[in-house]
């Protein structure tokens, strides 16, 4: 056996042969080694087969109980539009949780972002504000708050649960101070028109969500950032000893979460045409629930964007089915709780089976 150490930089010049491309092609196993069963189970649909079934069951229930109103194009648009805010937040939350953390402050951060950006729009720049300025402020405020979370969590270090609990309280308070507890109405109709309009019949909000999800999927599955996220969450000590800057990466995860809060704030303030310290209420729990239902482990290191999206859709469809059947929100909340418990139990069972293999 002869072994030569790789000269540094060797890989930089490596040419990718056709064979390698075939072998490493996108997501497909090099050969169908273990038959169709394995390849089906490792496909996006296969891995989330339980979730897909749950979603299908919900849709069927919707068709049966309120078929005339459920299976319409406009209702589909409603379902999707209602999913977007939680959806965008859940994408960020997926990164944070895979990376071994949690963020309880997202609801408050969304509120802060809406208030701050609408303040800019209604006061400082009244009259000459443009909609992109609102967007910019919301996104920057989100990322800045995320950075605060990230710095304390990574370098403090403060346990994520506690740190974001603190930010959750503080950001809400700050939002109330800035807005003086008033709802600030956006006068710039261009802003509202753009984000509540639609392109080719698809609501702009849905397009934003799809873009965020797509970028999230690519970042998680195709970049060094995503790979490090799994490593940092799966085994921080091994990641550290392998030379990954675990603290810096942890910090960046919360900045990313803040970015998603900013985007979510834009969507929500466009829809309500306002900014208020009450706007983000409860979104932290909705997004954590969606991520967990989607199969991401709270212990970190495991999880998928696709699962999260299905998780978000399940909640949204559930919501819709209940509304169409004139059931009140309290019953809905109970069903939601039950679904979380059932989903997690099923996933743990599946995970154990996988471990035994």
């Amino acid at each position: 056996m002869s072994i030569t150490p790789t000269p540094p930089g060797r890989g930089d010049t490596a040419t990718v042969t056709a064979e390698e491309v075939a072998a490493g092609g996108i997501g497909s196993p090099p050969e169908p080694r273990q038959g169709a069963r394995r390849s089906f189970l490792s496909s996006p649909v296969g891995r989330h087969v339980g979730l897909v079934i749950a979603l299908v069951v919900l849709v069927v229930i919707g068709m049966v109980t309120a078929g005339d109103r459920f299976a319409t194009g406009s209702n589909l648009r409603t379902v999707l539009t209602l999913a977007v805010v939680t959806g965008v937040l859940s994408i960020g939350m997926t990164f944070v949780i895979i990376g071994g953390g949690i963020d309880l402050s997202v609801g408050s951060l969304v509120a802060l972002c809406t208030v701050w950006s609408t303040t800019v729009a209604t006061q400082e720049m009244a009259g000459k504000s443009t909609w992109w300025l609102i967007v910019l402020v919301a996104v920057l405020v989100g990322m800045g708050s995320g950075l605060v979370n990230g710095i304390f969590i990574a370098y403090g270090p403060i346990v994520p649960f506690i740190m974001t609990l603190a930010t959750m309280a503080a950001a809400k308070g700050l939002a109330e101070v800035i807005s003086q507890k008033k709802t600030q109405v956006i006068r710039d109709t261009g802003y509202r028109d753009f984000f509540t309009g639609s392109v080719l019949g698809i609501p702009t909000q849905v397009i934003v969500f799809v873009l965020v999800a797509a970028v999230g999927w690519i970042a998680l599955n195709r970049t060094t950032f995503g790979r490090r996220t799994y490593a940092v969450g799966g085994n921080p000590e091994a990641a550290r000893l392998a030379g990954i800057d675990v603290r810096r990466h942890t910090m960046l995860l919360y900045v990313l979460m803040g970015l998603c809060c900013g985007i979510a704030a834009v969507l929500i303030s466009a829809r309500t045409n306002s900014g208020s310290s009450n706007l983000g209420l409860g979104y932290e729990l909705d997004s954590i629930a969606a991520v967990v239902i989607g199969g991401t482990l709270l212990t970190g290191g495991r999880g998928t964007i696709v699962g999260t999206i299905i998780g978000v859709l399940i909640f949204s469809v559930l919501n819709n089915v209940f509304t169409l059947n004139n059931l009140d929100t309290s019953t809905q909340a109970i069903a939601r709780g039950a679904i979380i418990v059932i989903a997690v139990l099923l996933q743990q069972r599946a995970a154990r089976t996988e471990l035994r293999r």
Partner: protein, 547 residues
């Protein structure tokens, strides 16, 4: 009983050349030792029962990739101090965990007072009167001494805990142990290691015990503490309680032991030996191998080879002091010593994972700043001791584990070129002959030896100058070891400087060009590996401070 033994003795070219010990010492088959055997030693003063208190037969425990226990017999009588001897990795810890109900054996029979028992849980073991004092203490830091002692069997009436009587009992136990200075209300966090040991012992005694297992109890005690411990062991023995005593210190075993069982490579190689068995025989039993490891040839380091790694005056208070050594290109330097001698700590400090209080590390003459990132950038790679906890991303595929330290090389603007990444990883794993040859496989499903190769492949791909290997064959099947050895040697031959830490002395000696022997944080020997043998090293480490 199936006994899939013989591949080892059969395949080993030269059957254990060294074992010159008397035939009466080598009782490998369970049948020989089963029938009570001659019992020449001074019989314990306790009650003389005809049947043993505990009788374990043919215990087998398999972990993925390793047979940790491969047919162990242990027979303990009431009122005796039974010593368990064996090198690190011989299976002592696994055996006591089986006995304590923490592991369930895959094969074998346990009889307790003549009746077959299943010790399914720690609680079941305690109910039978088996208490364990672990080496790594298993106390809850945030609770008080009394709360720890009665953890799991609190005294209570109608659900209300009887704090007063638990305190009183605790005080009685601590007095009996000769440590009245520990107060029942003290928080365990605030106690010293030795005091925690006492609390552990009090906890064992708080049960109605008939057998106490002590795993290296003297390791954290000062001489007074050891005397006190011996007094206690003597008392227990007089009360008819059996003690299974694990220690590396032969002088202790001589003083308090009644009989000795020796383990090696997960098997019993000597049972029911009298406590006065000559040291030479015991060491031979502990080291003599039923298989001979094949170590690769040492080609010899050219005299003009440059120093690659230089460590000078490295110190971490409380762990090790003034460690200095140099490793040349193509050289393997071994660090030998017992667990706790500070070897792994030295390695992790060189790697920057622990902060040095003093001393310098240089690679190719350039000083390395004290951080992991600086060490990696300087070309140092570490294969950590706890491969699963510190080395691998267990749920990720092989190729991602290989490329994790050189990811940037395969990224264009943050996007990974997975084809190139995978191909490069595959090239390295093929060189090291990782099996199965499938880089998409989840690392967790590989055997220990192949997992180790994955970590090696990582640094091979990174292209490092210095390789630090901490227990490279821990959890590696005996059969796969020779392969790991030859991989390590060929890495050195390619010009790397290699440092190997291992608890298996034979491994360090067989693999390295030079060795350092460490005891209690200091280097007590440094020289050519050929200049010292296993017994010499054992002698140095067992004498401890003497050197």
């Amino acid at each position: 009983m199936s006994h899939p033994v013989e591949p080892r003795d059969g395949t080993a070219g030269e059957p254990a050349g060294r074992t010159a010990g008397g035939p009466q010492l080598r009782k490998q088959s369970p049948v020989d030792t089963a029938t009570g055997g001659p019992e020449p030693s001074t019989a314990p003063a306790g009650e003389q029962s005809l049947r043993p208190l505990l009788d374990m037969r043919g215990i087998v425990k398999v972990f993925p990739g390793v047979r940790a226990l491969d047919g162990v017999d242990l027979e303990v009588r009431a009122g005796e101090v039974h010593c368990l001897l064996g090198q690190n990795g011989a299976g002592k810890s696994t055996l006591i965990k089986v006995l304590a109900g923490a592991h369930r054996p895959d094969e074998g029979e346990i009889r307790w007072q003549g009746e077959p028992v299943v010790l399914a849980t720690p609680l079941a073991a305690v109910r039978h009167g088996i208490a364990t004092i672990y080496q790594e203490l298993d106390l809850v830091d945030g609770l008080s001494v009394a709360e720890n002692i009665f953890l799991g069997h609190e005294l209570s009436t109608g659900g209300f805990s009887q704090r007063q009587s638990m305190r009183r009992r605790t005080r009685e136990l601590l007095n009996r142990l000769g440590h009245p200075e520990i107060r029942p209300s003290d928080e365990v966090r605030t106690l010293s290691a030795a005091q925690k040991q006492i609390v552990s012992m009090a906890r064992a005694l708080s049960h109605d015990v008939q057998l106490i297992i002590m795993d290296e109890p003297s390791a954290v005690l000062d001489p007074d503490g050891v005397e006190n411990l011996f007094r206690l062991v003597g008392e227990l023995r007089r009360d008819g309680v059996a003690v299974v005593y694990i220690s590396h210190r032969l002088d202790e075993i001589r003083r308090i032991g009644d009989r000795i069982t020796v383990l090696k490579d997960g098997r019993t190689v000597g049972t029911n030996l009298p406590a006065d068995t000559p040291t030479r025989d015991l060491i031979e039993l502990m080291t003599g191998r039923s298989i001979t490891y094949v170590f690769p040839e040492r080609p010899g380091v050219p005299s003009d080879a440059a120093d690659v790694l230089t460590v000078d005056g490295l110190t971490r208070r409380g762990e090790f002091a003034d460690i200095g050594f140099r490793v040349r290109a193509g050289e393997i330097v071994g660090l030998a010593g017992l667990v706790g001698a500070g070897r792994s700590e030295v390695l992790e400090t060189v790697y920057g994972a622990r902060r040095a209080d003093a001393g310098t590390v240089t690679v190719d003459g350039k000083p390395v700043h004290r951080s992991v990132n600086a060490a990696v950038a300087a070309g140092i790679g570490l294969c950590p001791e706890e491969r699963k906890a510190q080395g691998l991303l267990l749920m990720e595929p092989v190729y991602q584990n290989v490329s994790v330290s050189s990811m940037r090389r395969f990224a264009v603007g943050g996007f990974l070129r997975r084809g190139a990444e995978r191909a490069a990883a595959q090239e390295r794993t093929r060189e090291l002959e990782v099996r199965p040859d499938d880089v998409d496989r989840v690392v967790r499903t590989l055997s220990g030896g192949n997992q180790q190769k994955v970590v090696l492949a990582r640094w091979l791909l990174k292209g490092c100058r210095v390789l630090l290997l901490d227990e490279p064959t821990r959890g590696v099947d005996v059969g796969a070891r020779a392969e790991i050895y030859s991989v390590i040697r060929s890495l050195a031959d390619s010009g790397l400087a290699v440092v190997v830490v291992s608890s298996e002395i034979e491994e360090v000696l067989g693999l390295s060009d030079r060795v350092l022997v460490m005891t209690e944080g200091r280097v007590v020997y440094s020289g050519d590996a050929a200049g010292i043998d296993e017994q010499g090293v054992l002698d140095l480490v067992m004498r401890g401070q003497a050197a």
